[in-house]
Amino acid sequence: VTMGNWLWSQQFFPMSLVLADDGEILQASDGLKNKFSGDIIGRNILSVFDVARPRVNADNLDLASRVHSLFLMNATDNSIAVRSQLCRGDYEGEERFFLMGAPWLSWIKQNAPTIDLDAADFPVHDAQLEQEFLMNSQQDMLGDLEELTDNLRDAKDQAQQADKAKSDFVSHVSHEMRTPLNGVVSAVNLLGKESLPTECQQLVEIASASSAALMDVINEVLDFSRISSGSMSFENVDFSPTRLVKDAVLMLSSSAQNKGIGLQVNYNDDIPPALVGDAEKIRQVLVNLIGNAIKYSDDGEVTVKATSSAAADDSVSIRFEVADQGRGIGEEDQKWVFEPFWCKGAGLGVNESSTGLGLSICSQIIDKMNGSMGLSSKVGEGSVFWFELQLPVGEAQQEDLEVASATKQEDKNFAGRILLVDDNAVNLTLGKLLIERHGLEVSCASDGAEAVEKATSGNYDLVFMDIKMPVMDGVEAIHPATVTHCGTDGERVGSG
């Protein structure tokens, strides 16, 4: 390269340097020299520039190993940054290194935006200006996206808050509906046990069936609301899986009988006598599946099957299956069957109704127990619904669990004096009637203070007390200090 060539090359590489092997700057392009207030000729490149790329060793610059590399460097005083390529060639008769380049635009923009640059600093072959245009557009897009993301996040938060408010409302309303409906169900049941004229008896049966159906709907809505909000709690108790199946089948045997549908139970012998899990929830799921099988069958049989196989760590994998010979579910509808509010394709009869929540609740309960649930079905041939759970083997004896379960179901008669405390007059009336039917003597109180007064003067064997009450609530009424005044040494048991 002659001096003439060097000057000519600056049209294409406005930011260029000629270096000696040790990095001494021998020559610089005018475009580059103009950016510095002082003279850079004769100084070492590493005293003028910080080199970002490639990685260079200040003690051994070794430029020869970096020939053809891209050099990205900024002046130590931030007066310019250069993007260049290292080359080797002749300069006025000597082999020298050349750094041929242009301003490093993205660095300057970020770190020293006040540096004056003009179009002549970027020759046509250097695409940095075009790139800069694209990067600016990209940056604008990024800003737009961030704004959009913020808006979406706000909308999501609002939607979640609205959803929660709706769930809370549904839960609250369902709860408020359940309390008086409990009164209706209990009153109608008690009425049904009286001797009534045939016509009245029929009306009572209609009222009983309708109120029970309404109670089922409300319970499903409450369960769905609890499980959706994550407030449904699960317990671990010893239970007999075979007893659980028998109980579930027993609950629905009269429904099956009324429709002329056979109800079979089938389980293998090696099912452990006791498992540990939430027996009530498992029974709820099983009852729902058996109930559906009966509901959607016009004839034939419903078979309930339980099988188990060994799993790790003293656990077993237990599988419950409910097979029917009913209407079946089409392949497309099977994808939606566990979705909430799904009723389409269920093949409901003229007088049948459904909230479409039952299977969704079941599948979510099983999911919360880390189990799995599924079905196989063919239209016109029937369905098999199943669920599998991995549960620890329990320690209780089969006989104990059988006795516990049987005791629970027995209708027993007792003798003794009961104090019933509730601020709800309907609950008091119905509760008194229900308890008296078991041969017990019942007195009533409508708040905690009255309860304490009666308990102090009367001799009661058991006190049933509500918690939320006016004047004195249940918690205060059973406080040790209050109980001492009552002169009782009875055990306090939690109530709802």
């Binding site: 490639p54 891209l70 990205l72 993007r83 993205s106 970020q110 990067m135 961030e146």
Partner: protein, 184 residues
Amino acid sequence: MYGMINKAVKAMVQKDFGDEIWEKILAESGVPDDSFLTLRSYDDELTYALVGASAKVLELPAESILEVFGKHWVLHTATESYDNVMSATGSGFIEFLENVNSLHDRITTTFVDYRPPWFDVNRISDNEIELHYQSGREGLSPFVRGIIDGLAVRFDSEVTVTDTKSIEVDEGEHTVFHILCEAA
């Protein structure tokens, strides 16, 4: 680090372990949301938090997570989004490693705040190299180990890392991988 890294961590977890596990990891990490923007620069701590939370939730050492992530990075993220650039960088395992600095150089030209690592390849024989990895960041050598595995798959090569040693540095880390490579 750029959003593309965090997006890739998310994609890897979702692909290998499912959406639910990712939600658990995100909650564990304390990162407020996972709508990462590819070209936005995020604090390094955010990426480390995601990796740490992944290790906790998946009950695996963080090093293993980074190794799997390195492999995922080559075989999925880089290949799916930047395959032309990957192809231009090399057509064989060793050639790619020799040119990877050029790839990073070009990215540095454009992206501000981009702090790429530096790789030196010392050829010992035709099929044996020493790969020097130097970075201003700490703890990412297992990620590079995963990248080596990913590149072996990309170039259909039989690659064995026979030795890994650390060289003490003032800042970041410097790791040397001794690698045997047989093209399949």
